[in-house]
């Protein structure tokens, strides 16, 4: 079946360092990918997205990289701050469905 998975359940980084969160997907029909941030007690919040015809997209302090060959994407957070502490999910949309399939999530912990 279709799946979107993450490599690491928890990532601990020091404040100011860069963070890299990885995600793998299995459905070749996936053509749109989104990263969400979920803070405790809140719903997922959109961070950045990327279409399958791109391999890189940058936002403010965040970059998403997509490698369609190996069905892998990553979220890079530059100069990680305490406010970045949250669970991060990747999600994928396929061109034949409007249903978002979520990955398992990575908890990012930022320590001083």
């Amino acid at each position: 079946g279709e799946s979107v998975g993450l490599h690491l359940p928890t990532l601990s980084v020091q404040e100011g360092d860069n963070s890299i969160i990885n995600c793998a997907y299995s459905n070749s029909a996936s053509d749109y990918f989104i990263w969400y941030k979920q803070e405790s007690g809140k719903g997922p919040q959109f961070i950045i997205d990327i279409r399958s015809n791109m391999d890189k997209r940058q936002g403010q302090r965040v970059t998403v990289l997509l490698n369609k060959t190996v069905k892998h994407l990553s979220l890079q957070i530059a100069a990680t701050q305490p406010g970045d502490s949250a669970v991060y999910f990747c999600a994928a949309l396929s061109y034949n469905t409007d249903k978002l399939i979520f990955g398992t999530g990575t908890r990012l912990q930022v320590f001083p």
Binding site: Y32, I34, G41, G43, P44, F89, L93, D98, K99
Partner: protein, 113 residues
């Protein structure tokens, strides 16, 4: 964007009872979704609720257990029926403004004793 509110924000219920969760959006949207997020887990889609049609349920979810209403373009309810402790989860509604814009409510944290 869309502002989404859910009621209740949390509840503690006895097994065998039912709880109805409300989702209100600040704009008219066609596509709404209900998700379940079990403790420490990711989000799993329960059903798609489009106004004017019956909800479409994902594998493993049935209407008798999770009846959904969608009376208009700004409101939906999800009922968790005949609850058991395994139903303890966060239930989230979301709306899709465009294919690449899906926003989530704050969630309803349900604990079943």
């Amino acid at each position: 964007s869309a502002v989404i509110s859910q009621k209740p924000s949390r509840d503690i219920c006895q097994r065998g009872t039912s709880l109805t969760i409300q989702c209100q959006v600040d704009s008219q949207v066609t596509m709404m979704f209900w998700y379940r997020q079990q403790p420490g887990q990711s989000l799993t889609l329960i059903a798609t609720a489009n106004q004017g049609s019956e909800a479409t349920y994902e594998s493993g979810f049935v209407i008798d257990k999770f009846p959904i209403s969608r009376p208009n373009l700004t409101f939906s309810t999800l009922t968790v029926s005949n609850m058991s402790p395994e139903d303890s989860s966060i239930y989230l509604c979301s709306v899709q403004l465009n294919r690449n814009e899906q926003f989530f409510g704050p969630g309803t944290r349900l604990t079943v004793l």
